[in-house]
Amino acid sequence: MTYTQEIQNKARELLGGGQVEVVIGYEVGPRGRTRPAFVYDPQDVERLVWNQACTHNLTTYLNDHLKPKHPEKKQGANSEARRVAVVVKACDSRAINVLLAENRFERQQLHVIGVACEGILEDAGQAGNERSAHQLVTNDPPQYQARCRHCNERTPLVYDTLIGKPESHLGTGPNPARPDAYQRLQTMTPAERAEFWLSQFDRCIRCYACRQACPMCDCPTCLYERDDSLWVGMGIGLNEKRAFHLGRAFHLAGRCVGCNECERVCPMDIPISLLNRRLAQEVEAAFGHRAGIAPVPAPFVTVLSNPGG
């Protein structure tokens, strides 16, 4: 049985038995693009697929779908709490741990369909064989995404149903034809680094797709979108854009799980994941914490156990 069939069967079972209200998975649209799908009816489960373009982190939809119907009551007292099923890859599953640690919803509200993913391709999110407007300077065939090349755990960390064989890392290593700037940035002078980031942020249009795609970015009013411009101005200028990206990266320190969707959705190909990677490295070095490995909160919300350490 293919992964697609397994997912469809599971969805049919969960929806038919009334165990969940909705299955959040993937479908293929008329242009051949894979996209998120919300299936409510067991008759509709044939919409669901699994393929190498299932790039979206579907856990970003969980906060909305699992909102308590009566927020004034304590979580456990919500006997009418919604239940949903969600299809996740290993990277997405780490986000579930972070959200659980932050008390967004309760574990029993979720039926996690975990897929031991075999890698997602770079042109995922674009139409089938068609080239995006960006792919004009290279004729390389699509490769695995950078996050897949560095993937260390293909089996989801959280699941109720596992599809595929638990296996260790896919990690085929970095693509030498496409070196990223991470190492290069470490060796630059401060002035060169500043210039690098300014030239990247120059293209940013503050569309907020990066923020909206992120499961962990869920503040009712984003600090950087306040009506009173308290922390950053409204303008789409260099200072503001840099403040937004750096500030958002900081707010995700110890929480970002490296799904890289923020970078994938950016219409301007800005390599913002470099910021998240730097902070993930720093948080691991300073606190021994990796986001999403277990449902424990990020180190900033706890007190020092070893002052001065």
């Binding site: 002035a191 680094r193 500043a194 950053v232 200028g237 200072n239 403040a243 900033f300």
Partner: protein, 160 residues
């Protein structure tokens, strides 16, 4: 002549009082520091520090109580964890690390306060003016050769 503009976030209970102590003892320290009193160093958030640099500060000094002496018990624990991570981020983004410093000063340590401010001011002076802030509205690519909006402003102090 470049005089560094230093903003210091001083916590009410320890470091701000430490600054008072330095003043009472008539200790000399550079006048470049502009003190901003906060209830606790834990109030100093990353966006506050970033905005300070975006507004044109050449250096930012955050002084709190020694660990274990925070008036709010664990406020300075948060600062102790946050600032190094913020430092790593700002350095990665191109700010010289010497421009942001976190240290601990208690209410009675007037001399320590004066010494730290002196050291920090000289370190920032040695780096020259901070290039972090971009002109308001920044580099707007479509106006490459348009008259700079900054220079179209009237001279300060000119006739109304």
């Amino acid at each position: 002549m470049y005089e560094p503009r230093i903003i210091g976030f001083l916590c009410t209970w320890c470091s701000y009082t430490g600054a008072d102590t330095a003043g009472i003892a008539r200790l000399k320290y550079p006048a470049n520091l502009r003190a901003v009193r906060v209830p606790c160093s834990g109030r100093v958030s990353p966006e506050l520090i970033m905005r300070t640099f975006d507004q044109g500060a050449d250096g930012v000094l955050v002084l709190g109580c020694h660990i274990g002496e925070c008036h709010y018990d664990t406020g300075n624990h948060r600062t102790a964890k946050r600032l190094p991570v913020l430092q790593a981020l700002m350095t990665f983004a191109g700010l010289e690390p010497e421009r942001l410093r976190l240290d601990w000063v208690s209410a009675s340590e007037g001399e320590r306060f004066a010494r730290i401010v002196n050291e920090f001011t000289e370190a920032v002076r040695a780096l020259g003016p901070c290039q972090w802030r971009q002109p308001a509205n920044g580099r707007r690519h479509l106006d490459l050769r348009a008259a700079s909006l900054e220079t179209s402003l009237p001279e300060r102090g000119g006739q109304p």
